[in-house]
Symmetry: C2
DNA sequence: GTCTATACCTGGATAGAC
DNA sequence: GTCTATCCAGGTATAGAC
């Protein structure tokens, strides 16, 4: 993998720092240290801090889109795709225990700050919601697809917030297993009909 | 009700502003404007911004404790007490749509900031968790009491985060109704045994 | 107790040399 | 493209008059 150019390095570092410290608290100094450039150099690549935020959100949207696409390519069974979604909680458990869910925490912060970009941040939620809905529809649950999609999103947010607050990896693990069980039950019921 | 003294006024204003804007973003200037005092006057009452945060968290802990005590006094039936908990989502829906859950969002922010007071913030979660557990035990569900307590906390966090992100009061309302239904089912099942 | 004045620092942002 | 130097606003915190 080639070394990314400075602009991309800035975005990647900002992405991580915003996740770890929050947007408001993340300063040019922080990012500059991570990328090893001077503070003044930012303004060649971005006009303002908000522009960096926009770039970070776009990166996250692109990464999310990419991830969802990959899940669709790797699994033809919607059940397995949904299980991929549930298991990101487990896969990212270390980060979630420390910093919570990157989607939820940024969305919440930007709404509190009354920031212009808060709608863009919500778009990542919408990306997941739409994708999840599609999988439930593929399972033949069209009329309840959006309800189930919102259910999975809310569960993930709830589990991430509690695992974060209580710093409890066992809890997170148990809840993931339980969610996978819920998915299984849903299908059992469907197939019985 | 007598006018609170300056110190209490500061704490009350800081409480609201921290909820609405986040701790990091809330400055002395913001609080000073809300209370109508000068910035310099803070340091007669508090040694630092962190000391104000501690006072705010203590206020919240005290208010939470008070609220839980009141629910116990108003209702002898644990079922009704639990229903009070669920319905705070509905009662505070306007604030939740704008600023999310005050308990969860502060806890998440302080953990991201790696702030000393983050354990104190988690204490509010523990207050709820312990109280909820007691109600489930009173319902005769001792072995699953903590599981149910965590379930209700996680549901509340998930619902609050999603309602906040999507600014959707209908969603919040529906989910509250559904949680109350879950509570009802839980008891039906118990009484059947 | 509350004020004004101010110190000091860090934030975002700009100008211009290289 | 990247740097240094610098500006200005805003942050926390202090000193001292009233």
């Amino acid at each position: 993998m080639a070394t990314p150019n400075t602009r991309d390095q800035i975005i990647i570092a900002a992405d991580q720092l915003i996740y770890q410290q929050g947007f408001d608290h993340t300063s040019f100094t922080h990012i500059a240290e991570a990328v090893n450039i001077s503070r003044g150099n930012f303004y060649y690549h971005f006009k303002s801090k908000d522009e960096i935020l926009t770039a970070v959100i776009n990166l996250r949207r692109s990464n999310t889109h990419q991830m969802l696409k990959q899940w669709e390519q790797e699994h033809t069974d919607p059940l397995q795709r949904l299980s991929c979604f549930i298991q990101i909680l487990r896969m990212n458990q270390d980060k979630i225990l420390r910093y919570g869910c990157p989607v939820g925490t940024l969305s919440t912060e930007l709404l509190k700050l009354d920031h212009r970009a808060s709608d863009d941040a919500t778009m990542i939620f919408i990306l997941f919601r739409t994708w999840l809905r599609r999988q439930f529809i593929a399972l033949g649950l069209r009329s309840e697809a959006d309800k189930h999609a919102m259910y999975l999103l809310a569960q993930s947010q709830g589990i991430a917030t509690m695992a974060n607050a209580f710093n409890d990896s066992d809890y997170l693990d148990t809840q993931v297993t339980q969610l996978l069980g819920w998915l299984d039950d849903l299908i059992q019921t469907t197939e019985d009909i």
